[in-house]
């Protein structure tokens, strides 16, 4: 990672006199963004943190009572919530793994002499350009055993994708994979096209096997940007709401965000929902931290 400011300008030089100093440029570039994000996020963060220790309900006029850790204790003792965690974990793993396999796989294929590559890439990106709500609505139709084209086209009869408690989560994940693999694909493609040709040529001269080339040259060079894709997809999958909420209402697909939504916006248990949000935040921060550590390690290679 970056350790030093490159080539410090000689303070006496022309260049230094004409332009801003490196320090002011750095501050000018970084500080507004950081300030903006702090100002924008600090209130919601503190608000949620404060109310997570109270029995506050936004829908009433009753004042919030400080109840210490009670919300956290009750949430962590609630078997339904634990179940929500397990479902969410399963969903994140299936859906992110699927997106990486499909997205990276397609990127590898596209990283060859493919005619109309620009057009094909644009077409492949179409699913992620749709709004989640619309994707949910239409996939519900597509999956329908009676009106749906999926069963009709594949000859699956009345196979129940969403009504079957064991299948529903995978059906949601399939939709998510369809929608977001293109994201992984595009980032991978950007990474792949940055792999210098001469490395492949050198490998070819050494008569290295294609597997060897892939694991020793391609993958390490693409890894950093692929990791960024994975970090963002994991964070999004962990927060997933719309798709699962619109497609099914099985207890086996009640991911954390759905429970959180109901708690915050239907039941108006504002205090408790803030506590759940913080529990989720801690989990995401922990997971992302591991990813970022790994990302930095990969970059140092």
């Amino acid at each position: 990672m970056t350790t030093d400011v490159i080539t410090r300008l000689d303070p006496q030089s022309h260049a230094a006199k004409r332009g801003l100093s490196d320090l002011s440029i750095r501050n000018l570039f970084i500080i507004p963004t950081i300030l903006f994000l702090i100002v924008f996020n600090i209130f919601p963060l503190l608000y949620s943190l404060y109310y997570s220790f109270t029995d506050f309900r936004a829908s009433t006029n009753a004042p919030a009572n400080f109840i210490g850790l009670q919300n956290y204790r009750e949430l962590l003792n609630d078997p339904f919530i634990w179940n929500n965690f397990v479902i969410t974990a399963k969903y994140v793993i299936v859906s992110v793994a699927g997106q990486v396999v499909v997205g990276f796989g397609v990127a590898l294929l596209l990283n060859r002499d493919i005619p109309y590559k620009g057009l094909i890439t644009t077409l492949l990106l179409l699913p992620m350009m749709l709004s989640m709500a619309v994707v949910g609505l239409f996939w519900k139709l597509l999956y329908d055993p009676s009106f749906g084209i999926i069963n009709y086209a594949l000859g699956l009869g009345t196979f129940e994708w969403l009504a079957n408690p064991d299948m529903a989560l995978y059906a949601v994940a399939i939709t998510d994979i369809w929608m977001w693999s293109p994201f992984v694909m595009l980032l991978s493609l950007a990474g792949l096209s940055a792999v210098p040709k001469h490395l492949y040529e050198a490998a070819a001269i050494d008569r290295a096997g294609s597997l060897y080339t892939f694991f020793r040259i391609t993958l390490p060079l693409v890894a950093p940007i692929l990791m960024i894709a994975i970090i963002f997809r994991t964070m999004e999958a962990f927060k997933t709401f719309d798709l699962a909420y619109i497609l099914t209402s099985q207890p086996t697909t009640e991911v954390l965000s759905i429970r959180l939504y109901k708690m915050a916006f239907q039941e108006w248990q504002t205090g408790r929902s803030c506590a759940l949000a913080y529990i989720m935040l801690i989990v995401v921060v922990a997971i992302t931290n591991i990813y970022v550590k790994y990302l930095n390690k990969v970059k140092e290679r």
Partner: protein, 436 residues
């Protein structure tokens, strides 16, 4: 000199006053995105023509209606002057201070008698029997049934049905017949299914469906005055009702695990089901051949009775309330005075609104206006509703968590599900100090 100043001050005061009243020439009503909101817009256009006050009906999709409305209320927002809110919101709306108290208005205009009694009880009064009113019944609604007359009147089917069940095939009189007919028409090989019912547990759909059974079986959700639930919600009657609903579920079309009004109407229009449960408000689409190819062969009946002859239906519908954060409360009050006029209520019904106005409801004209108005009229006198306490959504979540796995997933028994629910609900009522 002093007089002069006083004069100036008074003048400024007047201009300010007229300034605000000029601003008040506009009212915003918030409702969900559906046709009755269009009818209401047509109705209030006439108010504008009459008074010059521009009224806009603003809408949001049903699935987000509650979220959007309460986010606005909780922040004490004045974006809406009036809101057409669900009956369950009364508790939160009144105790939360979001709704203006309309008790005096109610008494002054004798609305307790002008509007149908059930609508006043469920759309306007909170807490129950308190004599305090927070809304004017606007759109009456309840659950009814649509069915395929051509399937029911097919001589071959009628003969086969009689041979099998020993009585004539006709719209069901009770839940036992409902079940028999559903079973009779359930033919997956022919892609025909018995019945379409509500199963969506993301909000109140499944519960509304199950309530139809529980209330008609003579069961209750609990004692609405003492908040006791043990022995009510898990009574034998309620258990039998839940079992009956579960039985119906096996005669539904495939994939019927997250269904509400849209799916249930599609079950009729696409020729999937013989009978379909739905709110009356969603029936207009079934009458027009352009939207329902089987329009000529679609009939309607009221929710059938239970084994002991009790006959009730789950309540839908909404009342209109004044938002207490509105800047135009007086103007809104004037609008309500106009809205409850006999001629306006009649016009409301003509436009397609489900009036709660007793006189209009009882008129021959209304009862014969559509094939389902008669069933609607009958139903509106035997409706019951879910809890309307401010924490109703927690109760809703708990009942969904208990009964959905039983009905759709086939887990456990009805008794187990309802016993567990009685414990959940008791705990919740204790938490809010309604029970000791």
């Amino acid at each position: 000199m002093r007089r002069k100043i006083a004069g100036i001050v008074a003048g400024i005061g007047l201009t300010l006053a007229s300034g605000t009243s000029a601003l008040a020439q506009e009212l915003t009503i918030f409702w969900a995105e559906w046709d009755p909101a269009n009818y209401l817009q047509e109705l209030v256009n006439e108010y504008e023509a009459e008074t010059g006050v521009r009224v806009t009906v603003e809408t949001t999709p049903w699935s987000d209606f509650q979220t959007k409305a309460f986010t606005e209320f909780n922040a004490r927002g004045d974006a809406y002057d009036l809101v057409v809110g669900d009956s369950q919101w009364l508790g939160a709306g009144s105790t939360g201070g979001h709704y203006v108290d309309l008790t005096d208005f109610f008494k002054e205009h004798n609305l307790g008698e002008v509007m149908a009694p059930a609508t006043v009880k469920y759309y306007a009064e909170y807490p129950g029997n308190s004599g305090k009113y927070w809304a004017i019944p606007l759109e009456g609604d309840a659950v009814g049934w649509s069915y395929r007359t051509d399937w029911f009147e097919d001589p071959k089917e009628m003969e086969a049905f009689k041979a099998k069940y020993g009585y004539d095939l006709a719209p069901p009189k009770d839940w036992k017949q409902l079940r028999d007919i559903a079973e009779f028409f359930h033919r997956p090989d022919e892609k025909r299914y018995g019945v379409a019912i509500y199963t969506d547990n993301s909000y109140d759909a499944l519960v509304m469906g199950v309530e139809n059974a529980i209330f008609s079986f003579g069961g209750e959700l609990g004692n609405y005055e003492t908040y006791e639930v043990e022995g009510y919600i898990n009574s034998d009657k309620a258990v039998a009702a839940l079992e009956a609903y579960k039985e119906l579920y096996q005669f539904t079309p495939p994939g019927w695990a997250k269904t509400f009004f849209v799916e249930n109407n599609q079950a009729i229009t696409e020729g999937l089901a013989a009978m379909s449960m739905n709110y009356f408000a969603f029936f207009p689409a079934l009458l027009n051949e352009a939207t329902n190819p089987h329009a000529k062969n679609t009939g309607f009946f009221a929710n059938p009775a239970g084994p002991d002859g009790d006959q009730f239906a789950a309540l839908g519908g909404q009342g209109i309330s004044i938002v207490s954060y509105s800047q135009n409360k007086e103007e809104a009050m004037k609008f309500l005075e106009w809205f409850i006029r006999d001629d306006v209520q009649k016009r409301w019904a003509e436009l397609g609104g489900y009036t709660c106005h007793a006189k209009t409801l009882e008129s021959e004209e209304f009862r014969n206006a559509t094939p389902y108005n008669e069933a609607f009229y009958q139903t509106m006198f035997k409706v019951k509703d879910f809890w309307a306490v401010p924490e109703f959504a927690e109760l809703l979540q708990q009942i969904n968590q208990r009964i959905y796995p039983y009905i759709v997933g086939g887990e456990g028994t009805a008794k187990e599900a309802l016993d567990a629910l009685a414990v959940d609900w008791t705990e919740t009522f204790k938490k809010y100090d309604r029970l000791q």
